[in-house]
Symmetry: C2
Amino acid sequence: MKKRLAIDAMGGDFAPQSVVEAVKMGLEQFPDIQFTLFGDETKIRPYFPEENHNLIIVHTTEKIDSGETDPVRAIRQKKTSSMVMAANAVKDGTVDAMISAGNTGALLASGIFVVGRIKQIERPGLMSTLPTLDGKGFDMLDLGANAENTARHLHNYAVIGSFYAEEVRGIKKPRVGLLNNGSEVGKGAPLQKEAYELIAADKNLNFIGNVEARDLLSGVADVVVADGFTGNAVLKSIEGTAENLMKQLKMSINTGGIRSKIGAVLMKKSLYHLKDALDYEKAGGAVLFGLKAPVVKSHGSSNADAILATIKQTRKMLETEVVTSLKTHYREENQ
Amino acid sequence: MKKRLAIDAMGGDFAPQSVVEAVKMGLEQFPDIQFTLFGDETKIRPYFPEENHNLIIVHTTEKIDSGETDPVRAIRQKKTSSMVMAANAVKDGTVDAMISAGNTGALLASGIFVVGRIKQIERPGLMSTLPTLDGKGFDMLDLGANAENTARHLHNYAVIGSFYAEEVRGIKKPRVGLLNNGSEVGKGAPLQKEAYELIAADKNLNFIGNVEARDLLSGVADVVVADGFTGNAVLKSIEGTAENLMKQLKMSINTGGIRSKIGAVLMKKSLYHLKDALDYEKAGGAVLFGLKAPVVKSHGSSNADAILATIKQTRKMLETEVVTSLKTHYREENQ
C-alpha cells in the first residue's frame, strides 16, 4: 500500500523551493510514497512539468507566518492555510502523516487540536534523535511542546520514546534514562522523584535510572526523558554550544596566521567530519509524538536535504507502524 | 587590612598537593592575603620549609569524602573535618572567606548551616562565570544548589548576580536575562512568568527580559537567572557538548590520515586557543552566593592553576566587599 504523505509546502525559511526540491527527490527515491503538497500552486507547479501519479497539489493561498506568536488563534483563524489544510487531511484520513518546516507553535496546535492525540497520552511531546559520539544517537523528549509536565507525562514519554527507538531505529530493549541533576537514586525535584517511581515500576521498560545532561552526547541512554521546559533548555544549550565552538574555531583559524590557515586546509576533511557529526538534522525532524498519526517538524532553516531526511524518517514511521503499536499498547493497557 | 582566607586543603581529586601548590603561589603573588590551611599537617608542612607570617596551618585528621551522598549528615557527623573546620572559622569571624574543591553537597550544606545565609536570601544560589565568544563571560545562577526554586528566589538571583557582575567583574549596569523557553514576553511555566514580573518591577535592575539557552555563549546577557534544576542541566549540557566536540575533533584527526595530522600540528595554536576558550575555570570557582561571607567551590578536578584562579576571585570578592554591599542592600530594602 502507498504511504500517503501531506507536505506543507509553504513552511520554513526557504519555502516553497527547499520543500518542493525535497519532494522532487522523494518522488524519485520512494515510489511507495504518494505526496500531497499543500501550497501556492502557481509557485509549485513549475517544478513539476510532467504529470506524476504519486503527486497531488492542493492549492492554498493562506499561510501561517513564522513570526506568529499566538499559534492557537492562528490555526483557528487561518483554516485554509497550507499547514491547517495538511493537518485536516491527516484528520480525515486522506493522508497518513504530515510534515512541515513552518511555525513550531502552530504545528503543535495543529497536531493537538486538528490531528488529535492518542486518548491516554495527555501531553504529546516533541522528540528528536540527537547525535552521539559513537554515531548511534539518542531520542529525547519532551523538547518543548509543553512548558510544564507531570510525572505521568514523563512516564508516557518513556513509553513512547522506547517504542520509537525500538521500532523506528531498531534498537533492542532501548535504555531509558530520566534527565536529572545527579545520577543517584532520590535526586531531583518532586517531579523527577515521582517520575522515577512510575518509570521504574513499568516492567516493559529497560529503565537505567537518572542520567545527567553532561553524559547525553556520550550515549549514556537510547531514550532520554525530560519535562518540556528542561528538555528545551538542554536542546538549545547543546545547539548553542556547538554553534559557538565552530565559530570560535573559525575565528582562531582566521587570526592564527598562515600556519593555522594551511593547517585548516589540510584538516578540511576532519573539520568537515566534525561539522557533519553535529548535524542532527540528518536524522530527520522533530516528531510531535503521542498523536494519532505522525506529525513531523523539519527545522525552519531546512534545506532540501534536511527535508528529504524528514521524509525518509516519516516514511520509516509509517513502514514500521509505530503509531499503531502505540495505540494498541495503550488500548490493551486500559482493558 | 589583610584578607583572611580559609582553605580546605583536603578537598578535590588532587588534594592536598594541588591545593597546597596553589597556596604557595598565592603567598608569593598576594602579600595582602593571610592563608589558613585546614588539613593533615604532616602532608602539608613539607611544602613550606620556611616560616611565613601569612600562613597558618590548622591540623585536621577527618575528611569528607567526595563520594559522600548525604552531605547534611556528613557535616553534622564530621565536625572536625577540614571543610567544616574552615566553615566554622568563617562563622567565628577568624577568617573572611573560604575555598574548597571538596564534595559540592557538603560545601553547600556547610555554607548554609555553618556560615549562614543573608537573612533575606532564602535560598543562596551557586554561581559561575561562564565563557562567551567575545571573552567577556556571563554570570549564571542557580547552577544547582537547589532542586526547586520560587519566583522570589529567582528575583534574589537577579539582584545578587547584578551586584557580582558590577562590583567584582566591573560591568556597568549589567544586563540581566531570565532563562526561558522563548524570548517573547509571557513565555515559560508559571515560575518564569511570575519571576519575570518581579524582576521587571525592580527598577534597580537592568532587565533585558527572557533569554534562550541557545544564545548564552554569544553573550546575550551579563547575568542569567534560572531555577537550580534548569541551571544545572544547562551548565552540564554546555560542558558535555564542549567535551564531546573536542573528543570528536581528536578522533577525526586521528582517523583522518597524515594530512589531518600535519594540519593539526600547524593548527596547534588555534586548537589550543579553542580549548582555552572553553576553560571556564580560568574565571575561578562557583560561588555559593547569598551567604554572609564568600564560600567558593573549586572544581573537584582542579589543578593548582585552577585553585589559584579561585583564590584570585575570592580575593576580588573581599577587595570589592560585594557581600557587604549585598547585606547593606537587603538591610536598607527592609527598612
